[in-house]
């Protein structure tokens, strides 16, 4: 759906995005992770058609985004600091969005009123920061975009609202196959939301993974053998991490789950448990090459 190929954007000789390549499939919730200054915001603004890349292509369903009205009508961008016209009320902003985005649904706007319980006729600038963010979500969901791009959107929301917003987001994805790109410097924030993650550092998307595939590809094993850990087994498994707790060995290994199980059983373990890995742990073990990046994201 969204395709970035070798995208570069330079600010005053400083390459904020430096040859980034990225693919977001339709209906995915794509978490763009990376430390501060990795180039996430710039990448999202490029994707939203706000900035123009110096090099490379950015397409949605094969069409360039830059100055393409048909494509931009399907995209909504939610910045890290939300913007409203000076002195505007939610009602006025809704009227504005309705005229600008053909997909805006007044019905949806009215439905969501209960969910957000904000005064539509009050000036948005009198709202608190968190309430302004809620207002931005309300408007964004009312636009019903095909692609929703959000820059650190959950900052400043309390736990209750955050859960609520996440649920709304998931509903939209399930019901309409909306595609979501969401950036964060904190993995934990996205863990229960994303279906895909991309890890960004130094202006490049270092790797991209489907989380289900990722979960299926790394496993945490708890093992014990009668005569100690067989060296041969160590050779036959792709071990990422190994830890010994008394007679029990804890391994993190790569590979298809069934194959790993078969391999281990061949050595007749006394204890053999397959434990679930948290997203954090997968990152820590799986992304060896980008370990330093992982630490900041997981931290």
């Amino acid at each position: 759906m969204i395709q970035l190929a070798d995208v570069t954007k330079t600010f005053d000789r400083f390459p904020a995005v430096n040859g980034a390549t990225m693919t977001v499939p339709k209906g995915a919730i794509y978490g763009l992770l990376g430390p501060n200054g990795a180039g996430k915001t710039t990448l999202l603004k490029l994707m939203a058609g706000i900035l123009r890349q110096d090099r490379g292509t950015i397409t949605v369903d094969g069409d360039e985004v830059w100055e393409n009205i048909e494509v931009k009508r399907r995209i909504l961008f939610l910045p890290d600091f939300v913007y409203f016209f000076p002195q505007a009320t939610i009602q006025q902003m809704a009227d504005f969005y309705e005229q600008v985005y053909p997909s805006f649904s007044r019905q949806r706007f009215t439905e969501l009123r209960a969910a957000f319980s904000l005064d539509v006729n009050k000036k948005i600038h009198q709202f608190s920061k968190g309430m302004q963010r809620q207002a931005a979500f309300w408007l964004a969901f009312s636009v019903r975009p095909d692609v929703l791009i959000m820059d650190e959107p959950l900052d400043g929301l309390d736990v209750f609202v955050r859960r609520h917003v996440k649920q709304l987001l998931i509903d939209e994805v399930v019901e309409r196959e909306m595609t979501v790109v969401i950036s964060s410097h904190n993995l934990r924030e996205l863990e229960d939301l994303c279906s895909m993650v991309g890890l960004m550092a130094g202006g490049v998307v270092q790797l991209e993974r489907d989380l289900d595939e990722l979960r299926a590809g790394v496993h945490k094993l708890q093992l014990a053998f009668r005569d100690g850990f067989p060296d041969e087994l160590a050779e036959r498994l792709e071990i990422v991490h190994r830890e010994v707790r008394g007679s029990i060995v804890i391994l993190v290994v790569r590979g298809e789950k069934r194959r790993v199980e078969e391999t281990v059983r061949a050595f007749h373990p006394l204890i053999f448990d397959v434990l679930s890995l948290s997203l954090e742990e997968i990152f820590m073990y799986e992304m060896g090459g980008a370990a330093h990046v992982c630490e900041t994201v997981v931290g």
Binding site: K45, A48, I50, E67, P79, Y83, A88, Q99, V100
Partner: protein, 568 residues
Amino acid sequence: MSAKRWSANRAVWTQNLRQISWIAIIHWLLWMAAIVLPIALAYSQYDPKVGNVPQWENVYHISNRFETLIAWLVPILAAAGVLRYMHDKRSADFIHSLPIRRTELLTSQIVFGWLMVAVPLLLTALVAIGCLAGLDLPWPINAADVWRWFGETVTVETVIFAFSIAVGVLVGQSVIHVVLTNILLVFPAGILVLIYTNLSLLLPGFPNDYYLSIDVERLVIPLRYEMLGYRSMEAGEAGGMLLLALLLFGFAIWLYERRPTETAGQAMAFPAFRPLFVYGVAVCSWLLGGFYFGGVESEASWLLFGYLAFSLLGYAIACMVIAKTWRIFRRWKGYVGFVAIMAAALWLIHLDIFGYGQRVPELSEIQQVYFGQSTTNFRHSELIGRSFEEYDQFLRTKDNMKAVRAFHQQLVHDKPRPSRFEQTQPVVIGYVLKDGTRLLRRYDVPVEPYMDHFRRIMESKEYKQQYCILLRPSGYSPIRQVTLRNISTGNTVLVLADPKEIESFIAALKQDLWNEPVKAMLGGGREAQGEIELLQSDGDMFSTAFTTDHTHVRQWLEQRNVWHKIKQ
């Protein structure tokens, strides 16, 4: 345009109406205060017995300066208003994320801004015409005057608005937008003044005021507006201005399609313009330093100081604006390079490789010479000979051509730089050559050391004859009456009406004028003793003073026993 697209533009306009339409209201109120209010006031103060109708020749006379200020500043404000969205970072990100094409967005903003310029003007014109028609007074202006004012004002405001739009797309901040627009509006005239003045400092003889007398104010649109009161706009000029406005709009849209969004909040929106801005400011302030120090102090070291101090200041300020911090000490390399290039340029001009300052035409080439104090009359010879004493003259005798040429050669050789404490005299020397080319030089000359040169020319018969109206053949109509006055009291001492007496007095006066030494002609050592007023047959009057040099006049007066009355 499809309905969907139109809808997006309507949304933007709705937002404009909420956010910036106050500019249109202010614009209208200002014009009402400038045009309609004085009409209403004049009506309420009208007294049929006195008949005190205001003496307006046209709408510009109603409140001239004020009108210029409105026409100058409000269009800039309107442009700043409609382009504000791209000068604020968050708003720029927001607006550019919307599905509106840049061309359409800017076009719709330009149209909105232009309506804020034009509609208040139209309303004012209609109200003014209504007042003139409805309030029964013998008004000196009528609806046609108002329509002329409307057309010219809309044209000028449109050009300023268009200019400001183009500047606004170039910059990234509203404050810089407004400041830079104002600077660039006066730039064409300002830079000419600076360049010509500095050339006259570097090239002895360069007649800067000759070049500056060509309507520089025509190059500054607000000044052109101020002049509309006595020089109305022709169709060609108006068409040119509107064409310029269209080109500027087109240029702005072309630029905007290439304008990086992220430059909102920075001084210059295009990185390529940053050095242009910095060094442009440095060059201008360099010239300004020369203009100032060259004007007050003729010593070369002070001039050099002026160049360096002003350009350093200008360079530093421009760097600060670009870097948005005052800590710019690391950027000294650029300044050093700049000074090196400017010094080289200065040196080249001063070396005068084209021989500008050396050129003195051969005697055989010269058809006539021009000698005087004003550069203007070299171009406008029809202006010569209108005053009682005329310094500026075209001379054709061989002797005078030689004399002027010799004086010029001496000046080329000496390159005089008179100090402030000497009596100095502008000397303008011009040539009309046989092949039709013209040459003009202007020097400030200390009088004393060059007295011989002055004498040779100014005491010549040819010069003197043109110099004084009384000596000019057919320079004046027959004199009908001569009045002599005491210089200190202003009391009339003697009135001559008898033609014979007049003739005899004039003869004495002419003799004195023929004998008047060059020193007196240059205003030195003259002590006025009485005033002579001459009434001509055509009703024109001119007066002169007679001085200690006028011995024949004195004699004439003594013979008639009135000398002592004048002396008192």
